[in-house]
Amino acid sequence: MDLRFTPEELKFRDEVRAFFKENLPEETRKKLEAGEHNGKQAIVDWQRALNKKGWAVFQWPVEYGGTGWTPTQQYIFLEEMQTAPAPPPLPFGVNMVGPVIYTFGSEEQKKKFLPRIANIDDWWCQGFSEPGAGSDLAGLKTTAKRDGDHYIVNGQKTWTTLAQHADWIFMLVRTDSAAKKQEGISFLLIDMKTPGITVRPIQTIDGGHEVNEVFFDDVRVPVENLVGQENKGWDYAKFLLSNERVNIARVGATKQRIRRIKELASLEFDGEDRVIDNPRFREKLAAVEIELKALEMTQLRVVAGEAKRGKGKPDPASSILKIKGSELQQATTELLVEVIGPYALPFEPEHEDGWNEPPVGPEYAAPLAPQYFNYRKTSIYGGSNEIQKNIIAKAVLGL
């Protein structure tokens, strides 16, 4: 048992840190730091910079462009990425559909899609959730009916993040309505330019447009875009979802946000004292820091365990990472609102899109309340925290 990073790991960390320092555009970094969203181009540019370095799909097998890093190295990379802060490579391609394609896809699919995912030549989005399903993902109703060498897709997806930028969507569709609900599902790849697809924005309570509804009206999809076998899509989805959980704790991002809290709380005054000098505020923040330190150790334990269990077999205890990770993300966005206090009130949606007017109050205030509202999603998406507790109760505690 040795609970410290090895010298090699520390050297690796320095290398990553140096690369970020030299290559991450300041504009991109600052937006993330402020709690704002980066636009499409900034995300594309940054992922291409990573890809040039060979790091865009670091977690993939080496033959498809991966790095062969140990789980600990991967952890260090993500931690540095989040604390920089730098935008992560677009997860829908890199973390979601990419691994499904190289694990279950045809050789043609691998050749066609994987390099373009790494270089973000295709912007992918995810078509899993449906209005009627929610946490009961397998209750989906979108159908794909075979018609010669095409599937005809009809139905509706929702919560489709950044679909407004997307070139492709990966989908769960029902190909056998007679089968039990998990057994009639297939995994399709669909070109977003195909006729019959309509994207409708969903405005979220922060005033932003991050998610969409996507409607499918007799959309013709070539059968070669089926991944793996027909009616086996649920297995691929489960594989995908378990990958998704690995980085869900977002320890680095929360660390970065804690730095931001300290920075802004040193700028805001309550009478003659800075907010950061209020002992009660400091204790609330320290309590979050302590839980975060514990979560970081928990994450390292899961990572170390994964190194032993082998990839793709996540620890059911990783539900802890989702629960605590989202709680701490929410706690820190809440503390930022507390710092800014009454100046959370003005709503400046134009702020992010390059508003030319001066802000109402301090320039850092505008994104904070929307961020707090937006982050309520973290305990809902990716399997709500209630679902995570069900998982722990069943898979870990045997209840």
Binding site: Q203, I205, P342, V360, F373, R376
Partner: protein, 385 residues
Amino acid sequence: MDFDLNEEQSMLKDSVDKLLSNRYDFDARKKHAKHAEGFSPEIWTQLAELGVLAIPFAEEHGGLGGGAVETMIVMESIGRSLVLEPYFATVILGGGIVNTAGSDAQKGEILPAVADGSLRLAFAHAERQSRYNIFDVKTTAKKSGDGWVIDGEKALVLHGDSAQKLIVSARTAGGQRDEDGLSLFIVDAGAKGVSRRGFPTQDMQRGAEITLAGVQVGADALIGEAGKAGPVIAQVIDAAIAALCSEAVGAMEAMHKETIEYLKTRKQFGVAIGQFQVLQHRGAEMFVALEQARSMAYYATMMASEKDAAERHKAIAAAKVQIGRSGKFIGQNAVQLHGGVGMTMELKVGHYFKRMTMIDLAFGDADHHLAYVAAQPGGLLPASL
């Protein structure tokens, strides 16, 4: 001890509830918000016609002579419907100040016009640096002939962009954070030297930054005695917090109701999600938080007219703590139990959540008031009987 409404109070409640249930559903509200003023002038007129805008004022000033309970009734209803009209800014804050400290002439001029809906007020008081300290005012008013010249910048003035008259606080003496030395003035929003920049708020209301540059007002603009406005401001803000507590209870009640309704209708895994015991208990915990908040809103209502300013403020602070905490718990969980759709602008629940967040931050958040209560000798309850 009697928690029931009397006949007149019941009638008031019925008439306000009826107006708002007819004219203030979710879609109507969206339309109201699109008016230039950020609310519907027509609804404002109807509120005036119902007498709602006249409630707290004396009959001789066109009012109905209502008390804190009547205000509570209206504010709860406003909270339930997420009303955008500037009742709070005009009647409770601006009207409250004139009613509390204005001369007979000022009352006679202002209050009937407020009551009949023709005059809207805003309380231009807080400044960039003041945060939750209600005596932190840098704006100055200097004697000039018979009248005064006011200079300063006011921040986050609720409905300050559409009010016709502003109630402006300014320092005529004393240090930046002294209770002593504050004065209040009635200023025409169109007066020379007044510039306003309106903005939307997170909760779909309106606010403004207001600059006063060499604004000249006459001697008759001064409300009460020069330098003695501190206690007036404190008293009106305490009453305003009590009103906000009632609004919050209305919003929490509606949000809780919508959530329970959603639990009964939304199906997952083949059953209504309200069948899941964890969600049942969450609903029960939200109910407990709601009723505790309601109790403290009653307490605030009862204590808003307490003569002893220290006792009054302690009670109001305690109520604000409870409201802030209950509101956060209910709001966050209402969104959570709705899942994804709770995150969208398309359901009312998210709007309630945002309004509750802003109510917590108005006039001091829960932590601020908790620290106040804790710092009082003997705490909230007397140390010995």
